[in-house]
């Protein structure tokens, strides 16, 4: 009898988790729409005159930041794999690595901005195509900050530690989001490369 009640509640928890995971996917669609809007804005703006466009080579720092974020995706994958095998120590190490690589990504992006400004390409610019570089990277960094907060929350969960199934679920969501941020950056980078 008791079993059936627990099953019932367990079923509801599972259903609600499935829904939460789905919500995350929807949220990512929303975020992607924002960048899609910026992309179409960029295309429309750049097409408005021959003096528009990026008109420079993108800073090399972007290559390094791409390496950093791809690596961080890898460590994130290892961290969520570790938690599935109940290896909390391993999970924590990989999580820390992911956070560190996220921070590295952040600073390399800022470094890329200073490369741009040293070439005289400022955010405040009569060629707004160049301002768009800052908008794309800046908006992405805002999401990276959110991603780092999510990762830190995971780390706290793992350090406490919270019950394993909750930890796994949390990691699962965080990993999806972090991979999304990785792919989003690759999308932005490729988009900018194609337009440089």
């Amino acid at each position: 009898m008791i079993m059936s009640i627990e099953n019932l509640q367990q079923e509801e928890i599972l259903q609600s988790r499935k829904a939460k995971k789905f919500s995350l996917w929807l949220g990512m669609i929303g975020m992607f729409m924002m960048f899609a809007a910026l992309s179409s804005g960029f295309i429309v703006y750049t097409a408005s005159g021959v003096d528009k466009g990026i008109k420079t080579i993108l800073p090399h720092a972007f290559i390094w930041s791409t390496v950093a974020i791809v690596l961080s995706s890898l460590t994130m994958h290892l961290a969520s794999k570790a938690v599935k095998q109940n290896q909390l120590a391993k999970q924590k190490i990989y999580l820390l690595l992911t956070i560190a690589l996220g921070v590295v990504f952040f600073f390399v992006q800022v470094e890329a901005w200073s490369t741009l400004t040293s070439r005289g390409i400022y955010f405040i610019n009569t060629n707004a195509s160049q301002s768009f570089i800052y908008i794309f990277t800046g908006m992405h960094l805002a999401h990276i900050i959110a991603g780092l907060i999510v990762l830190i929350r995971c780390f706290i969960g793992a350090a406490k530690p919270i019950p394993l199934d909750q930890n796994t679920f949390r990691m699962d969501l965080a990993a999806i989001f972090w991979h999304f941020l990785d792919l989003l950056w690759i999308y932005i980078y490729v988009f900018l490369l194609l337009n440089q």
Partner: protein, 624 residues
């Protein structure tokens, strides 16, 4: 065994209540969808009253442009020096009226209230997919409201570039006083609002797709849920685009970038911004802005579908057609935004494309209108206040929708653009129609929300004052628009060709004042009935949907025991052979042998065989 499960489960949910609920978690930071719905509704009503008062203020100016009303100065101070509203403030009034009505009342107040209330209830879910995010959604909305109202208390006044905040007016703080701090507050408020809507929308979609009870497949969902679901999809895809537009605008305003600005001279000063394109903003804005009008009207369409069917005691006519029309509107809403921009120097070919897509929307809209009328046709109609508002909604949807055909036509729009014809059109089709849909929902689901009934007599008074008032206010505006009178003009006596319309404006303003006073009947009814209304029965309208199977007293988790299983679609009203004129969705076919039709079993041969055997044994002949 099942009874034991029920009692155990009920105990679980009750104890949950006792342990965790305090005043703060129950009424303020509630994560319960029912309470959040009420919070959205009451906040929406307050915003509606506020926005309505703004409209009365500018209506006074329009009717009596040369008269002083010293009392205005008492309340508005320097904004109405000498008792006459200042031009800058007039623009603020129309801007904030539009913003509040479109976003805070008809988006958050309508979707927020009824999606929250009905999605878990009608689908058979204990709560939303993420109750915490749901709570955040409300509090972001509430903060947005506070900031928007707060903008009335800054020295330079609230935003005044129109609810569409077109740059350069909105982007250059020195252009007009409202583009200063007021505009900044508008942008902050709207950013919070968008965050709120995205969180809410994600929750609605996720709940609809993941949390339906047993047996509730998509084609058994009430049309309310279909409309909320599709509305949320539209919102999720379009609101983030507005974020992008707003982010660029913020940088243009405050950091000196030139996304939207170019070649500007303001008060003799040449601005440094070069190379931007204000049309870019219009594209980004209307990519949200047009879907937004469907975000506003689709929930109203869903609510009225449910109310008209219930109160006609007839199945909704063309359920599948209704759903496909909503899907059609959802898809089309994204490819018509250019019809707001026919006069921006758009390539005529592109204009032609937008014109065709726009006119195609008439098809699903007409399907819906005809289906409403066909549902009413020879129904056993119960004219409850909710039903009156539902029929009123259909009326506005038709009379406002017809003028959409004129405006959607690029050649005609060049004449009608930015005139009162546009004001008349959208106030009927999305303003009045959606407000009526919302009020219809309030009257219909009030017993579910508050456990008490609203007074019907006051409801009828409210309906007639509002219905006649709205037509008297908006219908004459068509003629002003055809005569070329532009919208948002401050004073009709400054232009000789507009002077003849002042007398019409006086009629419109009086109609608006009377309709506004009519809302007192509603407010009185709404707030006193919470405490003194007649106690509601569990299913006061003899309705089929699942929310009426929950107890009148709200409990955490909605159903005391197991969630009911769904066996049939929600529109089994007046089914031939049935004992009552309604069969709730959780009644299995085995209990309604005398009314079952072959198509009820969806090809389940065993069930059809049993039914045929029963028919034979009981001498039942099935028509058709």
């Amino acid at each position: 065994m099942s009874s034991t499960v029920i009692s155990h489960d009920a105990a679980h949910h009750d104890s949950h209540d006792h342990h965790h609920e305090t005043f703060w978690t129950k009424y303020i930071f509630s994560q319960d969808h029912k309470m959040i719905a009420k919070q959205f509704l009451i906040t929406g009503i307050i915003m509606a009253v506020f926005a309505m008062i703004l409209s009365i203020l500018f209506r006074i100016q329009l009717a009596w442009p040369d008269k002083d009303f010293p009392i205005l100065e008492v309340f508005l101070g320097k904004w109405a020096e000498g008792g006459r509203i200042k031009p800058d403030f007039f623009l603020s009034l129309v801007t904030i009226h539009g913003t509040m009505m479109v976003f805070f009342v008809l988006t958050a107040g309508l979707s927020g209230t009824f999606s929250n209330l009905l999605i878990p209830y009608q689908l058979g879910a204990r709560d939303m997919a993420s109750p915490f995010m749901n709570m955040l959604s409300y509090w972001f909305f509430f903060t947005a409201c506070v900031i928007m109202i707060g903008s009335f208390f800054v020295e330079s006044g609230p935003a005044s570039a129109g609810w569409t905040i077109y740059p350069p007016l909105s982007a250059v703080p020195s252009a007009i006083s409202g583009s200063g701090l007021g505009m900044t507050l508008w942008l902050i408020s709207m950013t919070l609002f968008i965050a709120s809507q995205v969180m809410g929308g994600v929750n609605y979609i996720s709940t609809v797709l993941n949390m339906r009870t047993k047996g509730m497949d998509m084609w058994k969902m009430p049309l309310t849920i279909w409309s909320f679901f599709l509305t949320a999809i539209v919102g999720l895809l379009s609101f983030p685009v507005l974020v992008s537009a707003v982010v660029l605008l913020v940088f243009d305003r405050s950091f000196g970038t030139s996304f939207y600005l170019s070649d500007l001279v303001v008060q003799g000063q040449i601005l440094p911004n070069e190379g931007g394109s204000p049309i870019l903003f219009q594209h980004l804005f209307w990519f949200l802005g047009h879907p937004e009008v469907y975000i506003v009207v689709m929930p109203a369409l869903g609510i009225t579908s449910e109310v008209i069917s219930t109160n006609s005691r007839k199945p909704i006519f063309g359920y599948h057609a209704m759903v496909y029309s909503l899907v059609g509107i959802t898809v089309l809403s994204f490819i018509v935004w250019g019809h707001h921009m026919f006069v921006t120097g758009m390539n005529p070919f592109l204009g032609g494309v937008f014109m065709i897509t726009t006119l195609i929307i008439a098809v699903p809209s007409a399907v819906k209108s005809f289906n409403y009328l066909a549902t009413l046709w020879r129904g056993n109609i119960r004219f409850t206040p909710a039903m009156m508002f539902a029929i009123g909604m259909v009326s506005f949807f038709i009379s406002g929708g017809v003028t959409g055909l004129f405006l959607g036509n690029a050649a005609l729009d060049i004449n009608l653009h930015d005139t009162y014809f546009v004001v008349a059109h959208f106030h009927l089709v999305m303003g009045s129609a959606s407000i009526f849909g919302m009020l219809c929902g309030v009257y219909h689901w009030y017993p579910k929300m508050f456990g008490r009934m609203m007074d019907a007599k006051l409801g009828y008074l409210h309906f007639w004052l509002t219905f006649l008032g709205a037509y008297l206010v908006f219908f004459p505006m068509h003629f002003m628009g055809i005569d070329g009178v532009p919208r948002r003009y401050y004073s009709f006596t400054n232009f000789p060709f507009m002077e003849k319309w002042v007398s019409v404006n006086i009629l419109v303003t009086w109609a608006a004042i009377i309709a506004a006073l009519g809302q007192v009947a509603f407010l009185w009814n709404f707030f006193t009935s919470i405490f003194f209304g007649k106690k509601a029965t569990q299913n006061p309208w003899n309705s089929n949907t699942l929310e009426w199977t929950t107890p009148v007293e709200h409990i955490h988790g909605n159903w005391p025991g197991e969630i009911p299983t769904v066996h049939r679609w929600p529109y089994d009203y007046s089914k031939p052979g049935a004992e009552a004129d309604f069969i709730p969705q959780d009644v299995p076919f085995s209990q309604t042998m005398s009314s079952n039709q072959a198509h009820d079993f969806e090809g389940n041969e065993e069930a059809i065989r049993i039914q045929e055997q029963w028919n034979k044994d009981n001498n039942r002949t099935v028509e058709g």
